[in-house]
């Protein structure tokens, strides 16, 4: 009964979304108030209906209702409650429902919070959100019904892939989706602006917070996925340039570019057409990311052939959404007249460079990710594009980006004096050079990439610190006065500095762990000792353990430092029966500026076990850096100018003198 209710709610939501997507657009175009008035209640209605469907599916998972095909395929009565819930979005159909749920939530948010938006703009934005919803709901109703029944009712479910039964991964998809779907708002605003033929500062002040919030969520989501891969896959890798990872990384890169170009639209009334294009592309990559991960096309391009209807629908949806918005762009973008002019050497110029490099980097990732699919589809030849390709293409584009990243925020708008800006960074430059020299001294000339990485990371951190010090006139006026200035600094300035420093910290972490990782791989018998990174690890044998839905072999390592016992590590190998799989649970301890990472493998049949011990220096900096970046996004979101409601008040009073004042700041 409850699943039917959910199914019915999805069908109703589709009809509501159709009304929401079509009628208000006509109303806005022809000036028919009764049609534009549909937008807001329809958005709220659509949200309520999809929320109902989502609750229904969650209820089916929690109560282990195996008469629902989706629950039977992906759940099991023995599974802990958390993973029953996360099982809802751990599959194709459920994840689509989560996607459309967040989409409807955001649409309803614009409808209820958007009092201060011009009515026509708001109506169009809501309508376009509705149209995106139509695409997904069609898929849910006709081709990927999460509420499909199965008869006869099986007694037990197949279970969720044990690798996914992990807190890090349980919340990874929701964060990614909040990020992906959040970009739909920027997309809808972009398309609405194209229809209207107008982009102004008020528009950018609406697009920026949504982009910022999405970017923050996506940053957290990607970091979670990377952290999960690190501790769950059992060999301590944290980024594989796997197509699934790239699918989320491309929208992140473009979203980062969008975040920065929206600043130029807001502050300088420039780069409008470009920003609109970026908003369209960012969301297009979010769509592409969702589908290439969820359609099975990555495991094999022939997944489309085994389920041709779904494949054709997804392709058609992508073509309509991406092709349609790009065609609209080609037609209408010339109408978006740019305002503020600027010299190449200026804050705007630096942001343009940032955008160009990010877009170029995205395209290299795109080619590396899609080329094997194209080649397989066209010639049947199987190739893999591995990490060396991405290192060779992506890293060279990042080096100039990072070098400019510390300088850009210090430049004034419109026209900058490069020598003057650089001279204000001379302390940061001196500190960076000393970090590079210390690295060079410690690791030698053959580790030249380590020197470069450490220098770039340090440059970003010192640059961000200099930026804040300059803005607060630190040491040039009294400390108390500087503190007062720091408190009055716009939150967006703080947010930017924190996020830039966060990236610096993350780069130090990446460099450290890539350059100075040590590894010990050997067969160990009880009593054997192995030395790594100044520690001695003694293997103490293994014991069997029983978990809630698995059996495990648990090894014990005693960690000694200078002959003293300091810690004990217990890695496991878990054997699940539903579905039959084996997972490796590494034991990880933060030690000596990094992690000790131990894995116990198979027995050699002779009392020995294969053991793998790593020391991963500075790996924690990677997560701390990612958290700092997300924190920077959050701090920036609290900026007074970005608060909901600020746009219209500001737009209403945006007299020329106020504009001029804004530009001066």
């Amino acid at each position: 009964m409850i699943p039917e209710l959910g199914h019915f709610a999805v069908i109703l939501a589709l009809t509501v979304a159709l009304a929401q997507g079509i009628l208000p657009l006509i109303g806005a175009q022809r000036g028919i108030a009764s049609l534009t008035a549909i937008a807001r209640p329809a958005a709220v209605m659509q949200f309520l209906l999809i929320a109902l469907a989502f609750i229904a599916l969650t209820a089916a998972f929690v109560s282990s209702d195996f008469s629902v095909l989706n629950v039977w395929q992906n759940s099991h009565t023995d599974k802990p409650l958390l993973y029953k819930v996360s099982g809802v979005w751990g599959n194709h159909e459920g994840s689509l429902l989560l996607w459309v749920f967040i989409l409807a939530l955001f649409g309803a948010a614009v409808a209820t919070l958007g009092n201060n938006l011009p009515t026509v703009l708001r109506t169009r934005v809501i309508a376009i959100q509705g149209l995106i919803g139509v695409g997904f709901l069609l898929l849910l109703v006709f081709l990927s019904n999460p509420f499909e029944r199965v008869f006869p009712v099986p007694a037990q479910g197949n279970g969720l892939n044990p690798l996914l039964q992990d807190p890090g991964l349980a919340f990874h998809p929701p964060f990614l989706y909040i990020g992906y779907v959040g970009f739909s708002i920027a997309f809808s605003f972009a398309v609405a602006a194209l229809i209207e033929g107008k982009v102004d500062a008020a528009w950018a002040r609406w697009v920026r917070p949504w982009t910022l919030a999405s970017w923050t969520a996506l940053t957290i989501g990607i970091a979670m996925g990377s952290w999960w891969a690190y501790y769950e896959l059992g060999w301590g890798g944290w980024w594989f340039w796997d197509p699934v990872e790239n699918a989320s990384f491309m929208p992140w890169l473009l979203g980062t570019a969008l975040l920065h170009s929206a600043i130029v639209v807001e502050k300088r009334d420039s780069l409008k057409a470009w920003t609109v294009l970026l908003a369209i592309l960012t969301f297009s990559f979010s769509l592409l990311g969702t589908f290439i991960v969820r359609s099975g096309v990555l495991t094999s391009v022939h997944a489309f052939a085994t389920d041709p209807e779904r494949g054709v629908f997804i392709l058609a949806f992508l073509v309509v959404a991406i092709g349609g918005s790009l065609a609209l762009y080609a037609w209408r973008a010339p109408a978006l007249k740019g305002g503020g002019i600027f010299a190449p050497v200026s804050r705007e110029g630096a942001l343009v460079l940032n955008n160009l490099l990010l877009v170029a980097a995205t395209s290299t990732v795109f080619i590396g990710t899609m080329y094997p699919l194209f080649l397989d589809a066209i010639s049947g030849e199987k190739v893999t594009v591995g990490p060396p390709f991405f290192t060779a293409t992506f890293v060279p584009l990042m080096v100039p980006l990072l070098a400019v990243m510390a300088i850009g925020p210090m430049m004034p708008w419109k026209r900058a004096d490069l020598a003057g800006t650089l001279s204000r960074l001379k302390i940061a430059a001196a500190l960076t050079v000393s970090v590079a020299l210390v690295t060079l001294y410690l690791s030698g000339v053959d580790q030249i990439l380590a020197v470069l990485g450490m220098a770039l990371g340090a440059w970003l951190i010192f640059g961000a610190a200099t930026d804040i010090a300059e803005r607060t006139k630190l040491f040039r006026i009294s400390i108390g006065e500087s503190f007062r200035r720091a408190q009055n600094l716009p939150r967006s300035a703080w947010g930017g500095a924190i996020a830039h420093a966060g990236l610096g910290v993350a780069i130090l972490g990446m460099t450290g762990t890539l350059s100075w990782e040590t590894e010990q791989l050997q067969i160990m018998r009880p009593g054997d000792r192995v030395e790594i990174a100044g520690y001695e690890l003694e293997f103490d044998g293994v014991e069997p353990v029983t978990g809630p839905n698995y059996d495990a072999v648990r090894g014990t390592f005693r960690i000694y430092r200078n002959g003293r016992l300091v810690d004990v590590m217990r890695p496991e190998t878990r054997r699940f029966s539903d579905p039959p799989m084996v997972t490796t649970e590494a034991a990880i301890r933060p030690r000596n500026f990094g992690d000790l990472y131990a894995v116990v493998g198979e027995s050699n049949g002779d009392g020995g076990y294969a053991a793998r011990i790593y020391h991963k220096p500075m790996i924690n900096w990677l997560w701390i850096g990612a958290l700092l970046m997300a924190a920077g996004g959050l701090v920036s979101l609290t900026d007074r100018r970005l608060r909901v409601g600020a746009p219209a008040r500001r737009a209403a009073t945006a007299s020329p003198d106020l504009r001029a004042q804004q530009r001066a700041t």
């Binding site: 010299a343 160009l356 893999t384 594009v385 293409t393 791989l521 067969i523 050699n604 294969a610």
Partner: protein, 147 residues
């Protein structure tokens, strides 16, 4: 600067950035595309010994042998038409076993032994890597049991 002039600079800078990206991609493709080969392909193609590629097929029955240190494993990968000897040093995936579909990445040594740097066997007993399934189909030995 006039807007038209600025647009020109913008377009030129964009072209330059994309040009650099394309050049990097082409240079990287030269060395970093890893092709998939079945054992039959290996003998048919006569690959250079320094070129990395992926070799996939079934682990031949009764071919898995451990070395004395317990860390190096030698086995043969077969598509049931021809078989290639493989050596791998490290911990094998938990479900690596004879008769199982497997994909390895590495290069062919001068003695004809494939030196694997990594062994990818999915953590699922019934899983058959799609490349392997296709290779078996090509060699006419596909029974359609797995997948």
């Amino acid at each position: 600067m006039r807007p038209k002039r600025r647009r020109l600079y913008f377009v030129l800078a964009g072209m330059a950035a994309l040009g650099i990206a394309v050049a990097l991609v082409l240079a990287a493709f030269e060395d970093n595309l890893v092709f998939f080969s079945s054992p039959t392909d290996v003998y048919a193609r006569d690959l250079p010994s320094d070129r990395k590629f992926r070799l996939g097929g079934l682990v031949e029955e009764q071919s898995v042998k451990k070395s004395n240190d317990g860390l190096t494993t030698t086995f043969r990968i077969t598509d049931l038409t021809s078989a290639v000897p493989v050596a791998y040093t490290g911990i094998l995936p938990d479900l690596f076993r004879e008769g199982q579909g497997v994909v390895t990445e590495g290069h062919l040594g001068p003695d004809g032994v494939f030196i694997a740097e990594s062994v990818l066997a999915k953590h699922d007993e019934n899983y058959m890597p799609p490349e392997v399934a296709e290779a078996l189909k090509k060699s006419g030995q596909w029974k359609g049991a797995a997948q």
